[in-house]
């Protein structure tokens, strides 16, 4: 076989590969949305779930997913940005910095089930809290932190040196320069990264199985007191999220309409991920326009 034929065959193969990948995605999305969207009604989103009967909705699970996301971000964003600031502005080349980088590398490659087990050990058993939203959020923070640190560090490093030097040359301290010049400049990129990270957190299940648990107590949505037992805002209660619900419904197999519920819940999850993705992209383009337009 001469080289020209080989070249042509190779090209065809590569195009086919690309096409296959695209069609896998399209197929997956089409399947989920087509099958699932018809079950996603207002009723579905606002009815409580059922463990044994048909017709359950995902109200509590949806709320739990959102709430855990918020709590996770509240904890992990400051830590992540702080870590990013350290790595970009204060870390000096040397052993300590290398150790921190290795730790970030280790944390980001841990399987989420292992993180879940750690969460079970620390935030469920050792602390004696049992299954809680806080426990789940802390486990998800471990999951989220390396990403946020990397995103923040990259964003801060991209800020042009001249900006930093200009501020320092005016007699302003390093820290104040970071707060008032560097961070605001890096903020859009950090935001984009955080939104993408949110998408991953929203769909995470393995880390929550043994930390936030598989059940939700009966909630009174009118009770806004975070210390009350029936309040949805109480972070010391167990909370099954949307993703976990899909798993448990399929593994426990008790309700008769497993497929409907799972399909509907999957559709909701996918839509949420899509929205997060699009939001991040949109903000990214917005910033890009803003920066290039004013020059």
């Amino acid at each position: 076989m001469n080289s020209k034929t080989a070249d042509r065959i190779a090209t065809v193969v590569l195009v086919v590969i690309a096409a296959v990948i695209v069609s896998i995605l399209v197929g997956l999305f089409a399947y989920i949305l087509f099958n699932g969207l018809r079950y996603v009604s207002f009723d579905f989103l606002t009815s409580p779930s059922s463990n044994v009967r048909a017709g359950g909705g995902v109200r509590d699970q949806l709320f739990n997913s959102l709430y855990i996301l918020v709590i996770t971000m509240i904890i992990s964003l400051p830590l992540g940005i702080g870590g990013g600031i350290f790595m970009a502005e204060y870390a000096r080349p040397g052993k300590v910095t290398d150790i921190i980088r290795s730790c970030i590398e280790v944390l980001s490659s841990l399987p989420s089930i292992v993180i879940g087990m750690f969460g079970l050990l620390m935030f469920v058993n050792l602390t004696g809290w049992g299954y809680t939203i806080l426990g789940g959020a802390l486990a998800l923070t471990v999951f989220n932190l390396p990403v946020l640190v990397r995103v923040s560090e990259d964003a801060i490093r991209t800020v042009p040196r001249e900006l930093k030097e200009g501020s320092l040359a005016l007699g302003i301290t390093h820290w104040h320069t970071i707060k008032t010049v560097i961070l605001p400049s890096a903020f859009p990129s950090i935001l984009t990264g955080a939104i993408l990270a949110s998408g991953r957190v929203f769909g995470e299940a393995a880390a929550l199985l043994f930390t936030a648990g598989l059940s939700t107590p009966r909630l009174n949505y009118l009770d806004w007191n975070p210390f009350s037992d029936r309040s949805p805002l109480n972070i010391f209660r167990p909370a099954e999220t949307l993703a976990v619900h899909i798993w448990s419904v399929n593994t426990q197999g008790l309700i008769p309409d497993i497929e409907q519920v799972s399909n509907g819940a999957s559709a909701v999850l996918i839509l949420a991920v899509l929205i997060f993705n699009l939001l991040a992209r949109w903000i990214g383009t917005l910033i890009h326009k803003k920066i290039t337009a004013t020059k």
């Binding site: 080289s3 080989a6 070249d7 190779a10 090209t11 193969v13 590569l14 590969i17 690309a18 990948i21 896998i24 995605l25 997956l28 399947y31 989920i32 830590l79 702080g82 870590g83 600031i85 350290f86 502005e89 204060y90 870390a91 730790c103 590398e105 280790v106 944390l107 490659s109 841990l110 399987p111 089930i113 292992v114 087990m117 750690f118 079970l120 050990l121 620390m122 058993n125 471990v142 301290t173 390093h174 820290w175 104040h176 998408g199 769909g203 299940a205 393995a206 598989l214 993703a243 976990v244 899909i246 798993w247 399929n250 593994t251 799972s262 999850l269 996918i270 991920v273 997060f276 993705n277």
Partner: protein, 323 residues
């Protein structure tokens, strides 16, 4: 010149030559001091954040390590039996057996098989984006990859359960719940990882590599095969290893389609189990502190150790490229 009396003598800061009533020593020396307290506080704050990273990593290693060793230390299970026996029957009151080899086998099997499938696909996609259609390839495939990453693993598992498993059962054979199902699901899941790193690898190759090869009259495929891929090999290998690490640690998606039986599968169509799936299934209904529970933690420790091994492997591969 027009100097008003501005309230700027606070904290030893002065403006202007006219107001130089504060001697230079006080203005400029640290002992004279200005608002450096803030600077110190800020630095401490972010250093703390960085240290938390180290603290978390260390505590994960220690806690999971100690807990994972309980089955050997406290319950007296033999390490060799644990790792090499294929008998898994922890609930047998008379003669409990704790061999996890089937699960280790399952984990490695799905990992290697899915890497086998995804590596050519992922690298092929990367080559497509950088060599075949450099102008529009990325714009089409990149978002596709990003969206594939975004799909939660439970959804993959669910689709595998409702579409793939029946398909295998009806058209290929066996129960449907099989090594094959697990492999297919994992292959799709690790595809984005492999593709994005492979794309980085291919696009960071210097241009003159290609130009030199074309100048010698090579076809595009010859260039790719003989020049580009060898040049990018370390990073491509890293991509595949990272994909494998991801596959090894995946739990829920695999658990929903693989069947979860405790014997070593003899064919692709047989059901199997992996370390992650057994943990997922059994952690919930074993009592904390019991022997069976402790063995699950030991399996978790194996997962942790494998993570470290993958990282070491990647570092080794990356360092070889520097030669």
């Amino acid at each position: 010149m027009h100097e008003k009396h501005l309230p700027c003598f606070r904290k030893g800061v002065i403006f202007g030559m006219e107001e130089k009533t504060i001697p230079a020593k006080q203005r400029l020396l640290k002992s004279g001091k200005t608002g450096l307290g803030n600077e110190f506080r800020g630095k401490i704050l972010v250093t703390l954040c960085a240290i938390i990273m180290i603290a978390v990593t260390i505590s994960i290693t220690i806690f999971l390590g100690v807990k994972g060793l309980q089955s050997f230390i406290k319950n007296g299970i033999s390490l060799t039996e644990f790792l090499t026996s294929t008998d898994w029957n922890p609930t047998d009151k008379a003669n409990p057996k704790f061999g996890v080899l089937p699960f280790i086998f399952g984990s490695f099997a799905v990992t290697f098989l899915s890497a086998l499938v995804s590596a050519p696909l992922g690298i092929g996609a990367a080559i497509f984006m950088t060599e075949i259609a450099p102008s529009w390839g990325k714009k089409v495939i990149q978002p596709v990859i990003e969206l594939l990453v975004g799909i939660p693993s439970v959804v993959y598992g669910f689709i595998g359960l409702t579409v793939l498993v029946p398909f295998i059962r009806d058209h290929i054979g066996g129960l449907g719940f099989s090594l094959l199902a697990g492999t297919v699901v994992l292959s799709i899941m690790i595809l984005p990882t492999i593709t994005s790193i492979a794309t980085d690898a291919m696009s960071s190759l210097p241009k003159n590599l290609r130009e030199g090869s074309y100048a010698l009259g090579a076809t595009r495929w010859q260039t790719i095969r003989k020049v580009l891929i060898p040049a990018a090999l370390p990073t491509l290998l890293t991509a595949v290893i990272l994909g494998m690490a991801r596959a090894f640690g995946e739990a829920l998606a695999v658990q929903m389609v693989i069947g979860n039986v405790k014997v070593i599968p003899s064919s692709l169509l047989d059901a199997a189990a992996t370390l992650t799936t057994i943990i997922t299934l059994n952690m919930g209904h074993t009592t904390y502190g019991s022997v069976e529970n402790n063995t699950l933690w030991s399996m978790g420790l194996i997962l942790l150790i494998m993570s470290f091994i993958f990282i070491i492997l990647i570092r080794y591969v990356s360092s070889r490229r520097k030669m």
